[in-house]
Symmetry: C3
């Protein structure tokens, strides 16, 4: 990938809020790790484990803290938080094309939809009746926006994402390709041994600064809306069932599934492939480790886990057999304790 953009250290320092140690006019043309960066590239040192890499790095310039300045030989930009500075600097080198206002001739826009003149609608995109696309928003190629949707300012719906009717998205959001928002929640009533569909009458309400990963699905509510609050970050292939509520700034990693009506508090972090069953309440600030099953509400913030950990298959097989007998094993231990206690008492009696 060659994207020929260059910035002076001064420009970078202004962007990240740092102080230059070196030549302010030195120019960098990309970001790279300490190991791969060469002259003319900017790197960052945010984890003391990589000190050896910092010392041997060929990077033209490095973002680091004052305390580590001496360990780097080249130019440096001194910052309080090098990882955050790296995030800010990454924006300088972003590959995304700027929003290019206008509607592609192949797009199909309902007569009463409102697309702001400063919004972009890509090839073959579809925008349904009564929907509103705000200024600076971008609807990618072949994205489908249903009826009565709202896309807030500067939000970006990537290629092929699908919004059913009645999905409202705030400002500065990103919805990645393959995401589906507003499909029917999974609701059926039993009727003579079969399932009768419960029409899902709610919508989806998404706040500002939310990112929704590729292939993630957020179902519409059964009656009320499914709600994702400001600043939530959802990774790829997450399933959010009907009427779930996710509190602000919570981050959830890939392939996690959240069942219906569960409420997740603010600033939680849920690791990948986790499952959260329905109708639970998860306290703000909860951390769930990878591939855990949460089947009860969590009232106290903290870290939670489930699972057995990985083992070589042969020893795992033996242990699993024992797990199946674990209740019995525990009873045997209790019995032994009683016997020993009894023996010892009898011993004393003698």
């Amino acid at each position: 990938m060659t994207r020929a953009i260059q910035f002076s250290l001064q420009e970078v320092a202004d962007r990240v809020g740092g102080r230059i140690s070196g030549d302010p006019q030195y120019r960098v043309g990309g970001l790279a790790t300490l190991q791969t960066a060469g002259p003319g590239q900017l790197s960052f040192f945010a984890n003391s484990r990589y000190l050896a890499q910092l010392k041997s790095s060929r990077a033209g310039a490095v973002l680091l803290t004052e305390a580590c300045r001496e360990s780097a030989s080249g130019h440096a930009i001194i910052v309080d938080d090098p990882y955050l500075a790296f995030a800010r600097a990454s924006e300088l080198f972003d590959w995304r094309a700027a929003v290019c206002p206008g509607i592609h001739t192949s797009a199909v826009i309902a007569a009463d939809a409102e697309v702001d003149p400063a919004a972009e609608v890509g090839p073959h995109a579809v925008v349904g009746a009564g929907s509103r696309i705000a200024a600076g928003a971008s609807i990618g190629p072949q994205a489908v926006i249903g009826a009565r949707c709202e896309i807030g300012a500067d939000s970006r719906i990537e290629a092929g994402a699908v919004l059913y009717d009645d999905v409202r998205i705030g400002e500065r959001c990103i919805v990645h390709s393959g995401a589906v928002l507003g499909a029917d929640g999974f609701g059926f009533a039993p009727e003579a041994g079969r399932w009768r569909k419960i029409c899902q009458l709610g919508g989806v309400l998404i706040g500002d600064d939310v990112e929704i990963g590729a292939g993630t699905t957020v179902d519409r509510g059964a009656l009320d809306d499914t709600r994702i609050d400001d600043g939530v970050k959802l990774d790829n292939q997450i399933q959010v069932a009907h009427n779930v509520e996710i509190g602000r700034d919570t981050a959830i990693a890939g392939c996690t599934a959240i069942a219906g009506s569960t409420k997740i508090g603010e600033r939680c972090t849920i690791a990948g492939l986790s499952g959260i069953t329905g109708h639970l309440t998860i306290a703000a600030g909860t951390h769930v480790t990878a591939m855990s099953l949460v089947s009860k509400s969590i009232t106290r913030p903290g870290a939670y886990s489930s699972g057995t950990g990985l083992q070589p298959h042969q020893s795992w097989k033996r242990n699993v057999v024992r797990f199946r007998q674990l209740d019995e094993l525990a009873r045997r231990v209790t019995k032994l304790e009683q016997l020993i206690e009894q023996n010892s008492t009898e011993g004393h009696k003698e």
Copy 2:
């Protein structure tokens, strides 16, 4: 969301098969939960846990059983099964636009495909050679229907869903956005340390009244068809591998994965994020709880589970260490039992 539809209680009662207690001409304009419903809205009382909510509800009218009539202050419709009545009433307030027959000018239809005049094909949809779309069926925007497919009467393929060639779908089905039916099964033969693809020659055969969730994938069979029988409900992001068979009225929750050639019986319920390995047979009426791994056939219906349950991370870590030594622990207990037995026998001998 404002969708200005109103119904008299008489109309609702006729729909759900209930008896009015109150004013038959009272009009309701929407469905809501007991907590959120106001005057002019219909609610339902199907779970005795919410009795307090019923008593304090401001709902204009409530669907409930005769036995609970006294607990509600407003209008009521008396039914045998309030949850089923709620499902039926939900249809009155559905947001889905009726099928609007005709083919959008931007759709691409193969010359020899047959689209019934009473079917709808949306913008940018593609219908392949030899496929047939029956009356009342709806092909959403940008849905792709491959060659030799059949879509039965009144079935709905939502925006952007993809059907490969040779996928046959019955009547009154819903296939949600992001679903992919008929992609290649995962079949390869080892050949000199590499993988040689086995072309997947079967198709996909789906019965009537089936719902397939957003992002769910159903692979085509290797030789015979992958088969989903009448009334099956699949939630979002489920993976159904080649030659799986799912019996009628089975319901499977989100993110479950079913490996190749497994046969699931009728009326099973499989909770979310479960895994079912290949070549198994699951008895009709089996229930699997969330995030369980089924790795052997189930011959007796009943509820099955796996996993460890959730714990605070620190205690979980200690227990997991012990799980790795569980077989050894069990042996130690057996040895203790022998020692005690021996001691006790020796004691008696003395």
Copy 3:
């Protein structure tokens, strides 16, 4: 499905590299299992468990080894590896239409994109600026190819698959529908209690002969590329996070999630619904069983597992309670051992 192709046994034998036992001019019109095959169909016998099926099969001809010739009554093609021969024979009966060079009039191709005249671009497909599509490649209906992408010769991007910018794919690959390659990796820096996006500046680099399943997502790298090497086979709905590297000929089954920067060696097999946490290294030749969580690097090849195995729900519940107390149980056993040891020593002392 009727696809009227027929081959003589001679043609099949030439294709699979076998020797005919029977009439070389006998014609077969399809492949089927031993159970379902009839006259005029070809089957294969690759697993001795199905010997009874071989003996009773009505298949017109069977692929088998010399040693088993006597067990089949009809025509046969003698091969060293019947399963591999089946794979090769499957190609004869493949349903896929041959690539039909040309660009559909509804496709939108950037002015500076290069599409080889021997490539096919389907209805409503989009090809972005600076991308190159090689000879024999096929871009399915509504597939979206971003900017600066490369699709190698004879690779097939199925309907509706999405490639973001900067995705390079080798030769003879298949990317199935619903797959999303090059979406943003999940990277954020904490900033005053909120999350600041780290722009994902790397791309995706995919080798030759790779197959990527329906709904699988492969994120772009944060700085360097996410890399999938030659011959890798990914099933459906797999999540590959940013900067993951997957070594050649590794096969991964459906719904597995691999977190950021993990390196998986060559010729591994990872069963479905497994999770692999970030920044790990997995040795070449490792096998992971279904639904396992790999949370540490694996340095020695072999088979690895986690989980508890399935049980009836009631006994599982009792065992899970004990699992939560497992560390305590182990301590109790240790204490018992000490008591017994002590008693026995005291006994000897007496």
